[in-house]
């Protein structure tokens, strides 16, 4: 199997590609198998990002290699699901990297709103007019 080669700093891994970001996001609150990840990504992006099996497992391979996700030892009840499926979960590094990317998105969003690019900007938490 592919093993994490070293422990990188989450900041070094940013920005994440959309596929990587959404796979990490799908695994943020539960352990999922490949097809469930694919469905979760389609749902959260409202169909804007559809991962094929090749892209999905290419992404999973790289995330395993960097150490952002890991294979889960737990298997579901065979009666509920196919026990041959491999389940994945976020590692500590994966959680930190996802949080760092979300924070980066928030910064970008805040800066964009300050620029008054939108007709009806949502109220800013930090407040203050320029």
């Amino acid at each position: 199997m592919i093993c994490p080669s070293s422990t990188p700093n989450p900041a070094e891994l940013l920005p994440l590609t959309p596929a990587v970001f959404h796979v990490l996001l799908a695994l943020a609150d539960s352990e999922l198998h490949g097809y469930a990840i694919m469905q979760e990504v389609t749902t959260t992006t409202r169909g804007a990002l559809k991962l094929g099996p090749g892209t999905l497992y290419g992404t999973i391979k790289r995330l395993l290699a960097i150490g952002l996700i890991e294979e889960s030892d737990q298997r579901p009840d065979p009666q509920l699901d196919d026990e041959r499926r491999r389940y994945y979960r976020l590692t500590g590094l994966g959680q930190r990297t996802l949080a760092a990317e979300v924070a980066r998105y928030e910064e970008v969003l805040t800066a964009t709103r300050r620029k008054r690019l939108f007709a009806n900007p949502a109220p800013l938490n930090t407040g203050g007019n320029c």
Partner: protein, 319 residues
């Protein structure tokens, strides 16, 4: 893998997709191929359930595009990994001074020393020539192509018997010749000559035939051929004599041996090429040993230098 309720289209699609996975690099396929196939099968089931054949056709369109792009990407990543490995290897050989210099110097010195030593030893080793005579062993009741392995073994044992070797030594005056060559001018005793002769002969059955090869070794090609031919001739003569005078037959001889007929198939001839030393093989072995030992010593030397430098440059902490 397939559920018995899967429609034919789903089963066929899954099978075709598994074939198409050959587009991916082998390692990727080995690790994730089954999972990718399972995911695609789930997609097929969903597409069929929701939109029927149209859904499956749309899924195939998206999957083929995904397969093409992701297969190219995986091959590219594979190539990049190999390039990085080669770069790391190159970096290893360019290790910074002085550890790199120690590694290179140790490797080169060890390699060339061992190569030179191996070559010199090979060249000064005494040459050994081999010559082979063959005899056929048959019994009257043997069918064509049949042979008795026990009889062959017995014949080989009797060919290397003391009386045969002693006769060879007498015929070729080996007590005197070996004495002059190895015994500082004195003749060897029959026992000493027999001992030396025994180590110069090799008896081998020919696989699948009733033949025995008698191979003799010597520093001189003519002598090797003479030894093999004389041994065979003496053995055949002794067998002939025992047949003519039954009382002289060896008491331990089997009936198969007593009934067997022996025929000289080919005489040994002097060979111009020595069998030992094998110069190309010895040089190749020296090359491999030189490289392996040089590499190991180089690593040890470079490691020691690095360790020494780290100790020297360790910052002094104040208490």
């Amino acid at each position: 893998m397939h559920s018995p309720v899967d429609p034919f289209a789903v089963r066929l699609s899954t099978r075709v997709y598994r074939r198409l996975q050959l587009a991916y690099p082998t390692t990727h396929r080995e690790i994730f191929g089954a999972d990718m196939g399972q995911v695609f099968r789930d997609q097929c089931r969903d597409a069929c359930r929701r939109q029927g054949g149209l859904g499956l056709a749309l899924l195939w369109g998206a999957t083929l595009a995904d397969l093409l792009v992701s297969a190219i990407r995986e091959h590219f990543v594979n190539l990049q990994t190999k390039i990085v490995m080669l770069q790391n290897l190159a970096k290893f050989f360019r290790m910074g001074a002085p550890a790199g210099r120690v590694f290179r110097a140790t490797f080169l010195i060890t390699f060339f020393l061992l190569l030179a030593a191996g070559t010199v030893v090979t060249l000064i080793m005494p040459k050994s020539f081999a010559s082979t005579a063959r005899i056929l062993v048959v019994r009257q009741d043997d069918k064509p192509g049949e042979y008795n392995p026990y009889l062959i073994q017995e014949v080989m044992q009797r060919m290397r018997a003391d009386e045969v070797l002693d006769q060879v030594a007498t015929d070729l005056d080996l007590n005197r010749i070996f004495g002059a060559r190895y015994g500082l001018g004195q003749s060897l005793t029959p026992t000493q000559s027999r001992f030396m002769l025994a180590s110069r002969f090799e008896f081998r059955p020919v696989r699948g035939a009733s033949l025995i090869e008698v191979r003799a070794y010597s520093e001189q090609p003519q002598e090797a051929a003479q030894l093999a031919n004389t041994l065979v001739a003496d053995f055949l003569r002794q067998v002939q004599q025992s047949r003519q005078a039954p009382a002289a037959r060896p008491a331990t001889a089997s009936s198969a041996f007593n009934e067997a007929a022996f025929k000289l198939i080919s005489n040994a001839e002097a060979s111009s090429r020595p069998v030992r030393p094998n110069v190309p093989a010895n040089v190749v072995v020296s090359l491999i040993i030189g490289a392996a030992v040089g590499w190991l010593l180089g690593l040890v030397g470079a490691g020691l230098v690095r360790w020494r430098m780290q100790r020297l440059h360790r910052p002094v902490t104040s208490h």
